[in-house]
């Protein structure tokens, strides 16, 4: 049943498409280091994010060693444990996931998928990466600062974050953290403006908004949200820095610090929480929406079938983006805020489940009556669906205000956000890398290693976080260095913790197989050709692979159809590239 009207792929006459003034680098340094080419910037973002992400991964191993085998590792003390969880969380959410999806995937794919030569502000785009790198270095330097990094939790709640009882509170740790966030936001704004304006203004002829692949919709919407949400974190960070450095009291009521009355007074800790979560909730959707978009493209390409309900998918992405700004206080149900807010935020939070569920239905309905190739990217997409559904559904527990009361700050929350934000989007990142690596390098990643990597990662991550929910139902709190003497915690729970730790270390080491595959395939991978997955979207239709400077050669592509003409009845092949005009539909793989 074809609802798309035929004029959607009507012939568009070729037009003079003026060549954009593109910066032409002359030296090695301007080609590969201080590069204005979004493809190079993308790789820079991806490598930096992965490097700092590996640091955060190692921190998670240390945390799991402590939780699984308390008392065994004397080099981990309570302060360090708090520092590990804080740095792990902040790095993973902001410096890895956000940077990788927007700076990495966004920079590489947006110009190519919209048919542009590059981003619209290439110089600012280049600066955005170097500011991001500076932010990463400032954050990393806190490991070496006196007092070490902050141990305030990634949420950095005052008053404790800037006081003596918390690691990094009275010396450098919190200052460096806040400075790195401020830098990140500045850098991100530079990049973000590029992504948004490029999608709005630099689409090639024939590429209407409703012909964009969902990958672009996901990254675009996430970027708009980020430009609106990050300012809240920016001001909260500045205000906290002022409280810490100048003794202001934005967030500091009259209080004692380790028994001594301080000079603070009049401020509100809840103000920080509102600002932080006004940013923080959209932030988790900033991580999720690009994943939604990318997985839609992975599923449709590898099942040789159009994404089911494209228009609803676009609507759902935009609706989720908008709604995500009115749910933030579900992170604050037990914060002491005015209790009647709970009614409002529980309602909006559960409403946001509806567009999200529609997306899930549409993913599985894309598989229905498809032609499913179980390639490595498809496996990761299937893994995403299971883990995202699981993680999203546990969100309904936590969003329902009174249900959240006994579960808040327990391991149920930790299990929920890891499953929905750590496991599911990471599976999409990995699937996306297996999918687009041939475009970036011209070579395929090894399929045997990839299949192994998938199963260990997916099954392992599921076995880490699924049982963890039940520890939370018991009442086991989060951010606890050790559980100590607690009558309500049975010995079997301690055994479960040890099991989870063993699985976590196994999954961690399996990532080394992936890193090996990335490096090895660069030199020894099977040459991929231009379009190994026989995909319809524009990035696969470049004249060279990897794409050359300016992406398209002399002429920009012209787009005649939406991004999902897979298995069109009557077509000779099971895919029709977006830039293939209707007149030459019957020729095998012919380019216009």
């Amino acid at each position: 049943m074809v609802d798309i009207p035929y004029e959607a792929i009507a012939d568009v006459p070729r037009a003079e498409v003026p060549d954009v003034e593109l910066y032409h680098p002359k030296s090695w340094v301007t080609k590969y280091v201080f590069s204005q080419d979004a493809k190079v910037i993308a790789v820079q973002y991806a490598l930096t994010a992965s490097a700092i992400g590996l640091v955060a991964l190692v921190l998670s191993w240390l945390m799991r060693l402590q939780l699984g085998f308390p008392g065994t590792f004397s080099f981990i003390d309570p302060n360090q444990y708090l520092q590990f969880i804080t740095m792990h969380g902040m790095i993973m959410v902001i410096f890895l996931l956000t940077a990788l999806f927007l700076g990495g995937f966004g920079n590489y794919l947006i110009p190519l998928m919209v048919g542009a030569r590059d981003m619209v502000f290439p110089y600012v785009n280049m600066l955005s990466y170097w500011v991001y790198l500076l932010a990463v270095l400032v954050l990393a330097s806190s490991f070496f600062a006196p007092g070490g990094p902050t141990g305030a939790g990634w949420t950095l709640y005052p008053p404790q974050a800037i006081l003596a009882g918390t690691p990094g509170g009275e010396d450098w740790g919190i200052i460096l953290m806040l400075a790195s966030l401020i830098l990140f936001i500045i850098g991100f704004t530079m990049g973000g403006l590029n992504y948004v304006v490029t999608v709005l203004q630099a689409r090639t002829r024939g590429m209407t908004l409703m012909r964009l692949p969902l990958t672009v919709w996901g990254i675009f919407t996430a970027t708009v949200m980020a430009l609106l949400a990050f300012p809240a974190l920016f001001v909260a960070s500045v205000m906290m820095l002022l409280d810490r450095l100048l003794g202001t009291s934005f967030f500091m009521p009259t209080l004692v610090e380790m028994g001594q009355l301080t000079k603070y007074g009049g401020g509100s800790p809840l103000l920080f929480q509102h600002l932080f979560w006004f940013f923080g909730h959209p932030e988790v959707y900033i991580v999720a929406l690009p994943a939604f978009g990318i997985v839609s493209d992975l599923i449709s390409t590898h099942a040789r079938k159009n994404i089911f309900g494209y228009r609803m998918m676009v609507w759902a992405i935009v609706a989720i983006g908008a709604l995500s700004f009115v749910v933030w206080a579900h992170h604050m149900y037990v914060s002491g805020m005015y209790p009647y807010f709970g009614f409002f935020f529980a309602t909006t939070t559960l409403i946001i489940a509806i567009p999200t569920a529609i997306k899930v239905y549409n993913w599985v309905l894309t598989l229905w009556r498809g032609d499913i190739h179980l390639t490595v990217p498809m496996l990761f997409a299937l893994g995403f669906i299971i883990t995202f559904v699981n993680g999203g559904l546990t969100g309904l527990f936590l969003g329902n205000v009174v249900v959240d009361v006994p579960l808040s700050a327990t391991m149920f929350v930790v299990a929920h956000f890891h499953m929905v934000m750590g496991v599911a989007p990471i599976l999409v990142v990995l699937g996306g890398i297996y999918h687009w690596y041939p475009k970036v390098t011209g070579r395929m990643l090894n399929e045997v290693l990839g299949t192994f990597h998938f199963w260990v990662t997916f099954l392992g991550a599921y076995m880490i976080f699924f049982p963890m929910h039940y520890l939370g139902l018991l009442g086991v709190p989060r951010r606890y260095y050790e559980l100590g003497d607690a009558a309500f915690i049975p010995p079997s729970a301690h055994t479960l913790n040890a099991f989870i730790s063993v699985v976590a270390l196994t999954v961690g080491f399996a990532q080394m197989v992936f890193l090996f595959n990335l490096a090895w395939s660069l030199f020894r991978g099977k040459p991929s050709g231009d379009n190994p997955w026989r995909a319809t979207t524009l990035e696969w239709q470049t004249p060279e692979t990897p794409p050359g400077h300016g992406n398209w050669g002399k002429e920009l592509p012209v787009v005649y159809r939406w991004a999902y003409d897979y298995s069109v009845p009557g077509a000779a092949q099971d895919f029709i590239p977006q830039n293939q005009p209707p007149a030459v539909q019957s020729l095998h793989g012919a380019r216009p």
């Binding site: 009882g165 380790m258 028994g259 800790p269 037990v334 209790p339 509806i354 700050a409 327990t410 100590g484």
Partner: protein, 277 residues
């Protein structure tokens, strides 16, 4: 085939884990079993959704796996199906939200006959205060905190003189009596969490927060601080003992009031001054 089977096994394994796992709610000790009921409703609804989606996906992988000559169907959208799926999801969401909000309304509505108890949190111990014979808690201020006045009561406030002060000790509660737990922090955020009580709330310096419970069984329960409060967050523990009238009053007799504590440490004053000087 293999992949579809593994997906199905994950699904069945998850359901079995849920049914057979020994890790579940702690036995409840207060009136808040409505919270447990709402959680159970949520498990049923979300569990059904999880099962349906993953089973359908496993079936698709099994049935529509690529074979030589297979061609996918071409159906860009189906508005009727999407509409009904949305409505169904909305109904499921409402079925969870409705009981949840009803119980939340109970949570924020303190019964008129509730007594009051104050929990004071500081890095890293719990202290407690009871209203004493006059039934009212005296006012406090962080600036009053001193070695002989660790809870910071206002010495001038007559209502505070008979407040029972339990510094760094355990709290006892009377079985069957609703109690409004007032929460006060003098330094950073804390959270008073007793898993068996289900109810909890953060302690926020500069504010007084609350929750209410009615203990329904006797026992000794662990208090865990449940909002990261610094280095010794995990060690900030106490105990709550719920007991019957006789034991409770026996315990109460032994506790010290603010006036008594002041008197003992303030040897210079001959008489107490009620109402200030």
């Amino acid at each position: 085939m293999a992949v579809a089977l593994i997906l199905l096994l994950i699904l069945i394994g998850s359901v079995l884990f849920h049914l057979l796992s020994p890790w579940w709610f702690t036995p409840i000790a207060t009136n808040w079993s409505y919270i447990d009921d709402t959680i159970n409703i949520t498990f049923w609804i979300t569990g059904t959704a999880f099962f349906a989606v993953v089973a359908f996906m496993a079936y698709c992988v099994f049935r529509f796996h690529h074979k030589e000559g297979r061609r996918a169907a071409y159906n860009p959208e189906n508005k009727r199906l999407e509409w009904w799926l949305s409505v169904g999801t909305g109904v499921g969401v409402a079925a969870m939200l409705a009981p949840g909000l009803v119980v939340w309304h109970q949570y924020v509505t303190v019964p008129a006959d509730a007594t009051e108890v104050e929990v004071m949190g500081q890095q890293w111990q719990w202290s407690f205060r009871l209203p004493g014979k006059d039934g009212r808690l005296g006012t406090t201020d962080v600036r009053n905190i001193s070695p002989d006045n660790p809870m910071g009561l206002n010495r001038d406030d007559p209502y505070g003189q008979d407040d029972v002060v339990i510094e760094n000790g355990d709290l006892h509660l009377l079985l069957g009596k609703p109690v409004k737990v007032l929460l006060r922090s003098v330094d950073v955020l804390h959270d008073f969490y007793v898993p068996e009580f289900r109810a909890k709330m953060d302690l926020v310096p500069g504010m007084v927060t609350y929750f209410w419970i009615k203990p329904i069984r006797t026992g000794t329960f662990d208090v865990l601080c449940s909002q990261l409060c610094g280095s010794a967050h995990a060690d900030m523990r106490a105990k709550v003992i719920v007991e019957g009238e006789r034991e409770y009053h026996a315990w109460l007799e032994k506790q010290k009031t603010f006036a008594e504590l002041l008197g003992r440490s303030d040897l210079k004053k001959v008489t107490y001054k009620y109402g200030g000087e």
